[in-house]
Every structure is written in C-alpha cells, then in structure tokens.
Symmetry: C2
Subunit: 415 residues, 2 copies
C-alpha cells in the first residue's frame, strides 16, 4: 500500500543517520544476530513459505517460479551463512583520502552510506535476507518491497531479521518492509525524493524497465543480460566450443549466460556443424539466422525478435557476421551492455574488441559467466549494473556507498 510504503520509508529515514554512524563491530554484531534469528525462526518461516507456495500452485504458476519461491531448511541455512560471510568483509565506510587545499583547509573525503535504499524485487524470498544484510553492512537502512506472491515468506523473514536487530540493540526501523504490496506502492516509493536515496530493482527486464521509467529518484539498473560471444576467424575452435557450452549451459537462467553467438562467415562452414553437434547434445535449442541454418541440422530458424531476446533458458541464437566491425555493430544494436566476449588467437583483433564494445564486462577467451561479484573476488554481490552512472558490472559493498567532503579550518575565508 501507498501509505504503508511511505510510512516505512519515513521510519527508515528517521534512523538513517544513526545507523550510518554505527561502528563496524556493531554492524557485524547485528549481522550475527540476524543470522541467528533466521535459524531460530526456521519453523515459522518455512510454514509461511509453504502457504505462499501452495497459493502459487493453485494459481497455476510455473515450476521455475515455484522453485525460486520455495525455501527449504538448506536454503535458509545458506541465507544465514550469507549474513555471516558479510561479517568478514572489510568496512566499506570511512576516510578514503585526506588532502590540503586552498588557504590550508584540510579536506577529507569520507565514504558514507546513501541513507535509505529501496530494493524492489520479485518472488525470491532469499533476496529479503540478502538485501537486508548488504544494506546493514554498508550502514544503510532499507525498504524491502518484495512481490505479493512471497508476502508471507518475506513477512516471516523480516520478523526474524528485526528480532536480530533488536537483540543487537539496533533500531528495527532500519529494515523497512511493505507487508501488503500492490502496484501503487512501487510508484509511490519511486517518487519519494529526499526520503529514499537510491532504488535498486532486482529482477527481470520488465521490472527494471518499469522502475527506470517511473522513478523520480536515483536508480541503479541491474541484471538485464543479452550477452554475446563472438567467434572470430582466428579462434581456437575447441576453446570457442568449450566457452560457449559453459556460458549457455552451466546456469542458463542467469543474466550473464550467453544468448547470442556471432560467428565469422569465413569459418562458419567448419565451425557451425560442430557447434550444432556439441550444444544439441547438451540439450540446447538453437535458433539460427537464415545464412547459418544450412550448416546447423538441429537448428530452427530464428524469429524476428531473436537478437533482442534474453532467453534465460537452454535457447541460443546464432548469427553470421562479416568480421569484427559487424560483430561490434550487432552487439551495440541488440545487446544490453552487460557482458560480451570474443574468442580469437589474434591479439590485435581482441584488443580492438575490448576497446570498442561498450559493455560493463568485455572478455577475451573466457566465459561470460564470470561476471559475478564473488567470481570477481568482491566477497558480496549487490547485483550487476548495466548502467554507466555510479556503478558498472558486478557491484560489491562499496557501490552501496557515496561520499562526502569534510573540511576543517581555523577560520579560513576565500579571497
């Protein structure tokens, strides 16, 4: 509800400057208490989740949807362990640099939290725990706005998380929660200039598009991935097949999985039959451009929207290009600036690709599946930003902070 969302945001704002100043020890102690509370409340959380899952089944939701919605004892343990893993990470807050400037004033640039984050997400209750932990570790307060289908699970999780805050002596208002979500509250949350400092949508392209077009507050776009692998004429064939196989099949439902393979015309007659054989054996449905179809006995003809489609499934588009420039043009036209790779043994061509493809992550001879905060070694992942402002690619804790300048003088004035 609109009123509920605003009230939760105002409560989070009211304690934001207090939370921003909690020591690292205190924030870590709260993470520990939150993890313990999740474990302690397991029975209540699983019972609430079962009700959500039954309702989803009755309303005819697909298996993949219900799988994402389902919590198990094991998944809850993993969520609690995720909170504890955050404890080990370095503090993203604090003085970044200090320098003298005009008239001898001393300027300190200090990393500080944004204040109030609004996290808008789909029916994945694990995001509730994850987002609350990331927000708290970075000194932010948060308003969690999950989907209606997961409302009972989320409410039970938030009750536990708030119990954890209380046990650690932190204000429960630091975790805001829209208990009765509807369409109106998202619009309203996104209009709260001066109250909500940053909105982060986590979910599919439709959710993100909606948030970006509605928002009157700063947003970080995450996760829409139409990723490409370009197989250059000078590619090592076995490496190309291995990378494409991995990038498509290792986990097809995620944003860094490949959706389109571009193959140089010169090698298409040799390469495409092998690609067809390898991926078909792995259960991939191939959607080929007309020129590629002749060399791919198991492929179907690609539809008109193929190149813009984020399948998130074992489906893969295959297009033929005349060379590097055409590959780059295709990626610029149809891609989402997420992750794109070239496979080649030609270093000069690779460098040109890495220089000119305007994506968050550009790869030479490696799988796009590495675009991930943990794989990058950040120790946490807030999401994968596909925008250029503030954060790009895998976002760690420091991307949930901003900075301020603190200037100390002895009465200096400007002359």
């Amino acid at each position: 509800m609109r009123e509920e969302a605003e009230a939760e945001a105002l409560r989070a704002k009211a304690c934001a400057s207090e939370v921003a100043l909690f020591s690292l020890d205190r924030r870590n102690a709260a993470l520990a208490s939150m993890a313990e509370a999740i474990r302690h409340s397991q029975a209540a959380i699983l019972a609430a989740n079962q009700q959500d899952c039954e309702e989803a089944q009755q309303s005819g939701r697909k298996e993949a949807f219900i799988d994402r919605l389902t919590l198990t004892s094991q998944r809850l343990q993993a969520a609690a362990a995720g909170l504890e893993a955050l404890m080990a990470l370095p503090d993203p807050l604090g003085v970044q640099r200090s320098f003298l400037a005009a008239e001898g004033i001393r300027i300190e640039q200090r990393r500080v939290p944004f204040g109030v984050l609004a996290i808008i997400y789909e029916a994945r209750p694990n995001v509730t725990v994850d987002a609350a932990g990331l927000a708290l570790k970075s000194g932010n307060t948060v308003v969690l706005r999950g989907s209606r289908e997961a409302r009972r699970s989320n409410a039970a999780l938030v009750t536990a998380l708030r119990d954890g805050l209380t046990a650690a002596g932190l204000p429960v208002e630091a975790i805001g929660f829209v208990a009765n979500p509807n369409h109106e509250d998202v619009d309203h949350l996104l209009s709260l200039r001066g109250i909500v400092d940053l909105a982060i949508p986590r979910g599919g392209a439709e959710l993100i598009e909606r948030v970006v077009s509605l928002a009157k507050i700063p947003v970080i776009e995450t996760g829409a991935g139409v990723c490409h692998i370009y197989v250059h004429a000078e590619a090592n064939e076995a490496m190309a097949l291995s990378i494409i196989d991995n990038a498509k099949t290792q986990r097809p439902s995620v944003c860094n999985a490949v959706e389109t393979v571009l193959v140089d015309r010169e090698i298409a007659p040799q390469f495409l039959p092998k690609l067809d054989e390898r991926l078909t054996a792995r259960g991939v449905r191939l959607h080929a451009a007309p020129q590629a179809l002749a060399w791919m006995p198991h492929a179907v003809l690609a539809g008109p929207d193929e190149w813009r489609t984020e399948h998130l499934s074992l489906d893969l588009g295959v297009q033929i290009v005349a060379g590097l420039q055409e590959a780059v043009t295709h990626i610029e036209r149809f891609g989402t600036h997420h992750s794109d790779a070239i496979v080649t043994d030609d270093q000069a061509v690779a460098q040109r690709f890495l220089d000119t493809v305007d994506s968050a992550c550009v790869y030479w001879n490696a799988s796009t599946r590495f675009t991930d905060g943990f794989q990058f070694g950040f120790g946490a992942e807030v999401g994968i930003s596909t925008q250029k402002l503030h954060a790009r690619g895998p976002m760690g804790l420091s991307e949930l902070t901003t900075y301020k300048y603190i200037i100390r003088g002895e009465g200096q004035v400007r002359t």
Copy 2:
C-alpha cells in the same frame, strides 16, 4: 528543434567510440586548436554576441542577465585560456587497477568516457567553451543545448570550436549543438535512452528540477545551494563574523554562498547585534526570524519561504536554534545538501555536526565558498553535484568518466 537535437545526438554517438580511444596527446592537441580558433574567430563571435545582447535589451531583460550573456575580448581570452589549462591536467582515462580472479582470469578496471554527454544550460555562452573542453579532455562527445537568448553567440563559438577540431584532425560531430533551441528539444534529448549517456543541467534550481523530472536518462543534479552557517554557543565570535561575511558577500550570486545563518539561542543577544552591524555595513539585507528581530535593528521580518530560498544576492536569512540538534534538523528540512558549516571551538560538537549533516560538503570553521573544483585542487570544475549517485560535491574530470571491466583468459570457464 526535436529533430535537430536527435540528429546531433546520433552524430555524436556515431563518433563516440572513436573519440573515446584518442590518445591524451591527440585530445590535448585538439584543446590547443580549439583555443586558437576561439582567438582567431574573436570578431565574428563578438559580433554575434552583440546581436544577442541587443535582442535581450529590447526584450527588457535585467542587467544581471545581460551581464552573464555578454562576451568581451577579455572573457573570450579567459575561455581560450581555460581550454589550455585543461591540457595540463592528467588523463582521467586509463587502467585504474588490475587483479587476478577466479580460475586465474586477469581483470582490468579501466576508466572510460560515458560516451555522449548532454549539457543543458542557460544564457551563459562561456559554458559552451567550458563544457566542450571538459567533454573532450575526458574522451566524451557532447551535445550542447544552450538557451535561445544566446543562440547566435553559441553558434559562433561552436563554429570556432569545430574549426579547432578539424585543424586537429578530429570529427566535428564530437561537438553536437542545438542551433534552434525550443522547449521540445530538451524533453526529447532527455528521452534518448541508449543514445545520450548522461545529462548535466547547469543553471538555476528551476532548470535542474525540470531536467530531473523529465529525464529518462541518467542525470547529475548540480548547483542548487541553500547553504547554512551554524554559529554554535562556543563559537569564536570574530571568526564567525568573518566567515559569514565572506560566505555571503565575496560572491553572492553563486551556489556556495551562504543563504541562512543559524545562531544558538544562548549567544543570540550578544552575537546578533554584531552580525547586524557587520553585514549591514557590507550592504546585506537581513531577513530575521521573529525571535531574532529584536536584536537586529536593520533586519526585516523573514517571509514564509525564507528558509527554502536560494537568494543568490546580498540577502541573508537569520534563524535562532536551541542547539546542535535543532540546527541539524533545520538544515535537513530546508537545505539542498550542498555546503553547510559550523563555527565552534568545541571539537566534539563540531564532529557531531560533520558526521550527521547529510551534505556534499560539511565545514568546521571555514567558509562555504571553498566548495569549488579549483579551490579543492581538482584543476577543473564540471559543476557541484548535490546528488549522492556517482558524484558528490565539486566534480572534476574523473567524474565525467565511468569504467569497464576487461577480462582476459586462456579459455577459462566457470565450474
């Protein structure tokens, strides 16, 4: 015009990846040529400017407006010198860090330009030169959208700037320009997702508000400054008077000038008469809250909008507060998160103020007028950001860049 704005943006986009890869030497050579071309075209530019100024006079524009619009030989020399000063600054582009990650992939974080910047500004033709230079130095292309009143001056300047690009062998499309501005083209520019990468409004609060509420593309808000100086009970009186005097009168028309002074109740009877005397002698018109009026013989009663008003003139609001907490609450409620100062000899109180005031720049015992890229030692100033996303406070060249991750492997896949 709408079509013109889009065409200029598309042309800038088409050469953005070429411009992004120009070496520092090449970008610096272009800056030198642009400066030379400005000097060479002085007669044509001044003639065009005279027409703009005459039109503004005929339509009854105020003196301050015409002053900002007017170009002189001296001002043109300063603009050209500004381009040359950019040459000496370090390259904001290039590899920032490099590290090994999962499976031994090598990740390089490289600072890169945004691509196409849209700069939307008022009738100040010097911004045309300034913005083009900052964009080019940081490897960006730009669409300049100045105000209709300055269109002849801007057109003459852009002709010279493009001559400079040509002389240095750079594409003239790197400097886009809306020659026939109207209201429609701003709306349209701000809707060009995927073409314009970042919009920066430069001007008054009204312009910025309009850009932020219309934009479907990323924006950096700049320059709205309702700045405060809080005189704590333990302040050094002479220092407080000197800082307030400087922050109000040294250059009243700029965003980092003080607009409201908050004075602790405890010292009001002693301090306010001195403030009244000092500032009245400096030509300042004082607008006092009812409780303060009795101690300020030259002040008038503050109106209902006083605390939200950015005067940008020799006008100053004066309010009495009960102490630190009330001062912070006033600043949070009425301020613009730009620059706010405390004057006190009490270090603990100062620290509490610096910690809790949620502004880009917070000062202890120094004038708010130091919030400036040059005063901070950045060597350039794009503007003063009042938002938290991406850039906060004085923006230098590096704030006109984003980054990308370049990942090199030898066939690594994710396991």
